[in-house]
């Protein structure tokens, strides 16, 4: 080995092949490349956390977050919201009898009406929601229990719905349209709002039912089979969901364009809620062109066609009136959160600054004995 390497060097490769390096010149050196990457010397930024970088960071976060939080909080507070529970749990509540006697099997609707007073007028558009509590629309088996192809107007899915719909797939030998547990449990209370003006007459408030669903849902995801022609023909050979009173093509007797799978109340219901307490958009009360508020303060009556039993699972039903802002409905949480986090950061910054200051003096005195 040594002898041969000696030769390779001494004779500078003019002998060929006697040594192990046979032709030293020809053999490429195995020396690694001296590149920053291969030598792990890539220019790197080391985040060095010193007082100089950390303190400003804390203050900046504090200074940015607190104003945002205040902004959010104020805009949330500007939103007017009114909520009324009409489940009828209490003896005194107007819907008590309905709630008590009503079940899915009842054929005649139960009517009740709730009076309420708005203390403040609602400006601009008012959104009318119905809210359910303790209703687990996010239950795993419930969420799955639908057939999107059927809802998209697929003819073959209409006649033979997906297995996911079981056990709400067929009834009396016919496929159910729309199939599945979500559709089956469609919220079917009807709410009507009346304003009692000063002289005691009640005026019906026009409730707009268009535009409450996502545009993409209404126009892309949900489609009637065979277009919007004669729905009765299109849905022939299917059965209505067991809990429904009317077939799907008669969901909205007042507007033929709002029937079948593209009924907006139905679409809204089919978008399953994330949490057991949720609200769903029911109607929109359009802002009036005149300067009068959409809902002036005063007395109102809510007429309810009570169809939807919730007491069996200890559920609650609510009606909510709300205006909205750029950040959605009324929710002070985010504003408070921003303010809190901003304050904590600011506070930490101050604490660190104090320690920094203290430590600086100690540093000087401690260094002297060294």
């Amino acid at each position: 080995m040594m002898a041969s390497s000696y030769n390779a060097k001494e004779e500078d490769g003019h002998h060929s092949g006697a040594s192990s390096h046979g032709g030293a010149g020809a053999v490429k050196s195995k020396k690694p490349d001296n590149t920053a990457f291969k030598q792990q010397r890539l220019p790197a930024w080391q985040p060095i956390l010193t007082a100089g970088t950390v303190l400003p960071a804390f203050f900046v976060i504090g200074l940015i977050f607190i104003p945002i939080g205040i902004g959010l909080f104020v805009s949330s507070n500007n939103i007017k919201e009114f909520e009324i529970d009409y489940t009828g749990v209490g003896e005194s509540s107007p819907c008590h009898s309905c709630a008590k006697n009503f079940s899915w099997n009842s054929t005649t609707p139960c009517l009740c009406s709730v009076d309420f007073t708005l203390e403040q007028p609602f400006e601009s558009n008012v959104f009318m929601y119905y809210g359910l509590s303790n209703f687990y629309q996010n239950h795993r088996r419930y969420v799955k229990s639908r057939d999107d192809s059927q809802l998209n107007g697929d003819r073959s899915a209409l006649t033979s719905p997906s297995k996911e719909c079981e056990p709400y797939r067929t009834s009396e030998g016919l496929p159910i349209a729309p199939c599945g547990a979500i559709a089956n449990s469609l919220f079917n209370d009807t709410l009507e709002l009346y304003h009692i003006d000063a002289n005691g007459t009640s005026n019906s408030i026009p409730l707009v039912k268009k535009g409450i669903a996502w545009w993409t849902d209404k126009h892309v995801k949900f489609r009637n089979p065979g277009g919007n022609g004669n729905l009765t023909v299109a849905f022939q050979g299917t059965n209505k969901p067991v809990n429904w009173r009317r077939p799907v093509y008669e969901l909205d007797p007042s507007d033929s364009e709002n029937n079948g799978f593209i009924n907006e109340d139905f679409i809204v219901w089919m978008r399953t809620a994330a949490l057991p307490t949720f609200r769903k958009l029911y109607r929109i009360i359009q802002k009036k062109p005149s300067s009068t508020p959409t809902l002036p303060s005063g007395k109102y009556v809510l007429n309810i066609t009570y169809n939807y039993p919730v007491l069996s699972f200890d559920g609650r039903k609510r009606m909510i009136l709300s205006t909205i802002s750029w950040m959605g409905g009324k929710n002070p949480f985010l504003g408070i959160a921003y303010i809190t986090v901003g304050s904590i950061c600011f506070f930490l910054g101050v604490v660190l600054l104090i320690i920094h200051h203290k430590y600086d003096t100690r540093n000087n005195s401690a260094d002297i004995p060294n």
Binding site: K9, E11, P43, D148, N152, A274, F278, R279, F333, A366
Partner: protein
């Protein structure tokens, strides 16, 4: 194409198998006929048809078998089975959670990534196979009556092939003819064993006398040999000629596949083993698989993850049962019946839910963890491989990682077991001193020159050009050469020769060649007893011929050179005489003593000596001018000791000029060339510790045995002098004096060898020869018989002298050892050398200090009991030290560490006894350094095993020779030095280094990095998955524990695999917590890894808690922000996914110590990938992907200001604690920046073994007194410390 060609081969192989079953007889031996005899006959007639052809196929798979075979291999990993099980669970409708096909995706992805990796590796093997199979070689064709070029793969057993110089052998070939004058063929076996010295192979004896070229057509013999096996050093068989004569075949006749023909113009041979049956292929083993400590630790935590998973599932199942139960018989509308329409009892649905939850929470067991670790390790190996500082210019070699999966173990070593020779030392032997016949020749000039070399070496480091140092060396040599002695009256026969020598002594770079003769020895006055002189001559002859050194001249291939030397006239033996023919003439000769003969000779020759000596060119031979180029004769030895001795002898003008299998030619002063007939060579083995040659002395025709070996053995074999005669007394005195000198040499750290000889009478020789021949021809147990035969011969020796050879320390060894020590590593040296030598080397490399108390444990005949006694005092130390717990041994007090323990092999045997090993360990642990000398390879491995198993520490064994192999294999990490002694150690090792000093960077820098990177990555992995899964767990409280997930199944499944995978790989590969310079300046930082400080069991739980906290934040901020709104399931879940991704990425950012552009890029890429995938996925299909139904969700979210507000606040709140926690890190604990940022990287010197954080705390405490600070203040103060 290739596949097609493989298929017939396969069917053939199966046919062969069938036929073999029919003929079990065939299994004993292999019979090889020449193929050309059967050229006309069809395949069935050819007797060689059953043997493998030369086509090699190292691939594991074929196109057909790839899928089943690869899957089968992958399912050996338990985790894969688990993931497949979970994916399959999804196909059961009652419990399924995701779209079943989608749930299969990650498993399929992981399996296919591994499969593609395997396929790629296999394809590369296939490519290289193809390349090798299509190399050309010359095969004799009967039809064309000449050698034609064929591909390697077309070669068959029984083919004749012609090999030219520098060609690589395509198969194992029996050498039948060579163009070499002596019917030799030189091969280089570097590819097989890494040894670059040329080896001689010899034409089969019966084809010796062919003068003309070998004609394959005339060949009609049959070869019988053993079945293919993987022993490179064994080949047995015989060749049967048509005449019925049998000739034995030896390994010397076999040329092995993969070797290169050197120095030989042309050779012809017949293929014996081909393809996969060649010895080289049979020796090919795949890489080793070891499991690192970190991985073992990780597996524990994986197990914990399983438990957490089960607890979470159980919790959810019970919750679901209760939730169901509260509704009683009144089923709410949202509680869907089972598909069959039947009611599920709460208990049943709880059980189903349990299984569903396992599917939903499966992410907790990180499916990509194993793959990611593998990828990171491959990258780490790549970087270690590329490190310039681990590259050795001199040998053009760099570090090799042979085991790919234990890189992080390098950062956790606690004990290093090192070999001495070749590992700590250069293993470049320099002849230093010798003693002949009881007289010491100290070769002071040599010593002086060596000292100057060392100085020059240091200068050399500054000037890189090699040529620049040469002239200086020349001058040194000439200055040192004893010109003065030449002018003295030529009273000695040797002096004139010395003058010739000293002037034409070639200057050389290599020190071992450069020996300045000792003037005293050259100046030997004739007045001394003639027997002394005879001893001197014999001594040098022994040095010259008692070895296996091959002479090679740079002019190659060797030409026919007619040796007509005067010496060969004396020698009556001819080259081709059969050994058995010696028997006849042995009785003719009397047996005069060597002394008298030589004296006679001297008397005859002394007058002529002068003439001879002064004539510059010995007149008695011609040829290619060997004389003129004598200086360029190169000696290629198997061991550097041998080369050193031969060069030493040449310095005294007793030079080896040629070695043939049967003859050694030595050029002697005034005698010219002498050809010794080499009767036998009894090779060196580690049991006998000696080698012998039996030669016939050309002058006296005596049978002489020269033996060279370890002093301990040789001294026992010396013929006891008969004390009666004066000669006997003198002999005894010589032996005693030699022994003294030997001790002296050993004390100087020299390697000692004894030289002895023995003269055999013809009768003795004949008697021995007979039994030796029996042994040689025996097929069964040949090795044992030869061993016994050697023992019979090597008795009653006559001591000639002894040599001392110096083995220099490698560069940087003391520094490396010092710095490894500082790093808290215990270094034990295990060597086979003598105690004195070992101790001296230990002093030289600062392993032992003179001030250190030293315990020498060497017992000769002491029984176990006395051994007990000798260990007794140390028990005090071990019990008083607080280190009775195994892992905390580094904390033992310093007083104890000032001890050094030296123990020799025999004592070690006692110490390793079951009853004593605990005591031995207790003593050894309280010593700062341990030195085991005279230990056998087995003992070395036993020591390593003992320490490893008993102390439960991480061990590293480093060595370079075959004797270190067992130790290397036993240790957690085996490091081989690719040095002078072949490649066996390297082959057995996990890492191979060119030099010892590279160990420092390998361990301190790469080891630390690999460990800390991997440890952090694994912890991060656990954190990441727990954090993500916990989000779903919190959700169960709001969905009736129904197993619902607000995170879309796609995100859930691909989150780990795609969205968050790249940044952690980049950080795991590139992050540097401390710079390389700091790590080398502060070896103490290594303690970090030894104590597993980056990954302690509690850290897993800390990470889990952190993960749970962060997931709480990521869950509940969106929860409250969207509480009682009209948000739907996935419009709410998608922001949570996004927040979790941001949080996880920023958390990684906090963990990342150094940011390169790749980190930035990978994080940007991850985020971009997530949004791209989300947008595409949400826009692609309005009806697919049930049940998640995510159409247009992300698009709507991006228009929602609330989403952005959440994205800002949530990660900040989630990460505030860990950020604050990270502030205190750089200053508080060991890391980083500590050293570099404080700007004074010189640590307290006394604080060698203390964990580094103590030290930094001390330093901190001295200055700021952090004790006074409490709680959060302490955190922030500590962080300010480093400002």
């Amino acid at each position: 194409m290739a596949r097609e060609s493989e298929d017939p081969a396969m069917t053939k192989a199966s046919k062969v198998k069938r036929q073999r079953k029919k003929k079990p007889k065939e299994n004993k031996t292999r019979t090889v006929h020449a193929n050309i005899l059967y050229d006309n006959a069809k395949g069935e007639e050819n007797p060689n048809r059953h043997y493998a052809n030369n086509e090699i196929k190292t691939t594991k798979y074929t196109l057909l078998s790839f899928l089943p075979k690869n899957l089968f291999e992958q399912f050996h990993r338990f985790a894969n089975v688990y993931f497949v099980f979970i994916a399959l669970l999804n196909f059961v409708p009652v419990v399924n959670a995701f779209q079943p096909e989608l749930a299969l995706a990650p498993v399929v992805f992981i399996l296919s990534v591994t499969a593609i990796k395997d396929l790629w590796e296999d394809y590369r093997r296939h490519r290289s196979d193809q390349e090798i199979n299509h190399m050309d070689c010359l095969v004799y064709s009967r039809a064309e009556r000449r050698y034609v070029e064929k591909y390697w793969k077309e070669l068959r057993v029984g083919d004749f092939i012609r090999l030219r110089c520098n060609e690589i052998l395509p198969a194992d070939v029996l050498l039948l003819s060579s163009s070499d004058p002596d019917r030799l063929c030189h091969i280089e076996t570097a590819t097989l064993d890494g040894e670059t010295n040329l080896k001689q192979r010899q034409v089969v004896r019966s084809f010796y006398d062919l003068d003309c070229d070998f004609n394959p057509l005339k060949y009609n013999s049959i070869i019988e040999c053993e079945k293919p096996n993987n022993d490179l050093n064994r080949f047995r068989g015989y060749i049967i000629h048509r005449s019925g004569r049998r000739d034995a075949l030896y390994k010397e006749n076999l040329l092995l596949r993969g070797c290169t023909i050197r120095n030989t113009e042309e050779a012809v041979g017949i293929v014996i083993y081909a393809g996969h049956e060649t010895k080289a292929m049979l020796n090919n083993n795949g890489p080793r698989y070891k499991r690192s400590k970190l991985e073992r630790q990780m597996n524990v935590d994986v197990f914990w993850c399983v438990i957490i998973l089960l607890v979470m599932c159980l919790f959810a199942a019970v919750g679901h049962g209760l939730w169901m139960f509260q509704y009683g018989d009144k089923r709410p509308v949202f509680d869907v019946l089972s598909p069959e329409g039947t009611d599920l009892s709460p208990i049943m649905s709880a059980i189903y839910l349990f299984l569903t939850m396992i599917i939903v929470f499966q992410v907790l067991i990180p499916i990509s963890l194993f793959v990611s670790i593998e990828i990171v390790k491959i990258c780490q190996v790549y970087f270690i491989h590329q490190d310039m500082e681990l590259y050795d210019e001199e040998t053009d070699s760099h570090l090799q990682c042979r085991a790919l999966n234990i890189t992080e173990d390098l950062g956790q070593m606690q004990y290093i077991f090192s070999d001495k020779t070749g590992t700590l030392t250069e293993n470049k032997m320099v002849f230093r001193r010798c003693t002949v016949a009881g007289v010491e020749y100290s070769h002071d000039a040599n010593a002086r020159r060596l000292a100057m070399y060392q100085e020059m070496d240091s200068e050399e480091e500054e000037c890189t050009s090699h040529g620049g140092t040469l002239p200086r060396r020349d001058s040194v040599t000439s200055h040192q050469s004893p010109h003065g002695q030449c002018s003295s009256p030529p009273t000695s026969v040797l002096i004139p020769l010395c003058c010739v020598l000293s002037t034409d002594n070639p200057s050389s770079v290599l020190q071992e060649k450069d020996i300045t003769p000792d003037p005293q020895l050259l100046d030997k006055p004739t007045s001394q007893l003639p027997s002394d002189l005879a001893d001197i001559i014999d001594f040098f002859i022994a040095l010259t011929i008692c070895n296996t050194v091959v002479v090679s001249s740079p002019n190659q291939p060797r030409q026919k050179v007619q040796l007509t030397s005067a010496a060969s006239v004396h020698s009556s033996s001819s080259l081709i005489t059969n050994r058995s023919s010696n028997k006849g003439c042995s009785s003719l000769l009397s047996s005069p003593s060597a002394e008298s003969t030589l004296t006679k000779l001297d008397e005859e020759q002394t007058p002529r000596g002068l003439e001879h000596a002064f004539s510059p060119v010995p007149p008695c031979y011609d040829g290619k001018g060997w004389n003129l180029e004598e200086g360029e004769l190169r000696y290629e030895a198997e061991s550097p000791d041998e080369a050193a001795l031969v060069y030493a002898a040449r310095a005294y003008k007793c030079s080896l000029v040629g070695r043939l299998p049967d003859q050694v030619t030595v050029e002697l002063p005034h005698l010219g060339k002498l050809s010794f007939e080499l009767l036998h060579t009894l090779g060196f083995d580690s049991t006998r510790k000696r080698m012998s040659v039996v030669v016939r002395h050309p002058l006296t025709d005596q049978i002489t045995v020269y033996t060279k070996g370890a002093d301990s053995v040789i001294m026992d074999l010396i013929r006891p002098p008969d004390t009666g005669s004066s000669k006997g007394k003198r002999q005894k005195k010589i032996v005693n004096r030699t022994q003294n000198y030997l001790n002296l040499y050993a004390a100087d750290g020299l390697r000692t060898l004894c030289i002895a000889k023995k003269i055999l009478s013809k009768e003795q020789y004949a008697c021995w020869l007979q039994r030796h021949l029996e042994a040689e021809t025996a097929i069964q147990g040949r090795e044992e018989l030869l061993f016994e035969s050697a023992l019979r011969l090597e008795t009653n020796l006559h001591l000639l002298g002894a040599t001392g050879i110096e083995d220099r320390l490698q560069d940087g060894v003391p520094e490396t050892i010092a710095s490894l020590r500082k790093a808290g590593l215990q270094i034990w040296v295990l060597t086979g050398d003598k105690q004195e030598t070992a101790v001296n080397i230990a002093y030289a490399c600062k392993l032992l200090h003179y001030i250190q108390a030293k315990f020498l444990c060497s017992s000769t005949e002491q029984a176990t009991k006395s051994f007990h006694g000798s260990f007794a005092p140390f028990e005090i130390y071990s019990s008083s030290s607080p280190s009775s717990h195994s892992s905390s041994h580094t904390a033992a007090p310093f007083t104890v560490h000032r001890l050094g323990l030296v123990i020799d092999g025999r004592t070690l045997a006692y110490a390793l006894d079951k009853s004593l090993e605990d005591k031995f360990l207790a003593v050894a642990r309280s010593c700062r350094s341990v030195l085991c000398c005279r230990s056998t390879p087995l003992q070395k491995s036993m020591v390593v095993k003992l320490v490893r198993n008993k102390l439960k520490v991480m061990t590293l064994a480093i060595g370079d020779g075959a004797n270190d192999v067992s130790m290397i294999q036993v240790a957690d990490v085996g490091v081989g030095i690719s040095g002078q002694e072949g490649m066996q150690a390297v082959m057995a090792s996990d890492f191979a280094l060119p030099r010892f000093r590279y160990l420092q960077k390998l361990l301190l820098v790469h080891g630390h990095w690999c460990y800390s990177r991997l440890a952090n990555m694994i912890l991060y992995f656990f954190y990441k998955n727990a954090m993500f899964v916990a989000l779903i767990f919190w959700y169960q409280f709001y969905c009736g524990f129904s197993g619902s997930a607000m995170i879309d199944q796609w995100y859930l499944i691909f989150f780990n695999l795609m969205f968050s995978a790249f940044p952690q790989l980049i950080t795991g590969t590139l992050d540097k917590d401390v710079s390389a310079e700091t790590l080398q300046q502060l070896p103490q930082l290594y303690v970090n890894g030894q104590n597993s400080e980056e990954y302690k069991p509690y850290m897993f739980w800390m990470n889990m808690i952190d993960a749970f906290y962060q997931s709480l934040v990521c869950f509940f901020i969106p929860y409250f922000a969207y509480a009682d709104s009209d948000v739907d399931l996935f419009t709410w879940g998608t922001p949570i996914t996004t927040l979790a991704l941001f949080t996880i990425l920023v958390h990684l950012g906090i963990e990342t110590k150094t940011w390169t552009w790749m980190n930035w890029l990978s994080i940007a890429f991850s985020i971009a990938l997530f949004f791209t995938v989300a947008l595409c996925y949400n826009a692609s299909c309005p009806t697919c992907y049930t049940p998640s139904n995510p159409y247009w969700t992300m698009q709507r979210l991006l228009q929602d200001p609330l989403f952005y507000l959440l994205c800002v606040i949530t990660p900040l709140v989630a990460l505030l604690p860990s950020w604050i926690n990270s502030l205190q890190k750089p200053a508080g604990t060991s890391s980083a920046s500590a050293g570099s940022r404080w700007g004074h990287p010189s640590p307290a010197p006394r604080h060698h073994r203390g964990p580094f954080y103590k030290q930094s705390n001390r330093a901190g405490g001295a200055r700021w007194g952090p004790q006074t600070l409490r709680g959060a203040c302490q955190i922030s103060t500590l962080y300010f410390l480093q400002k």
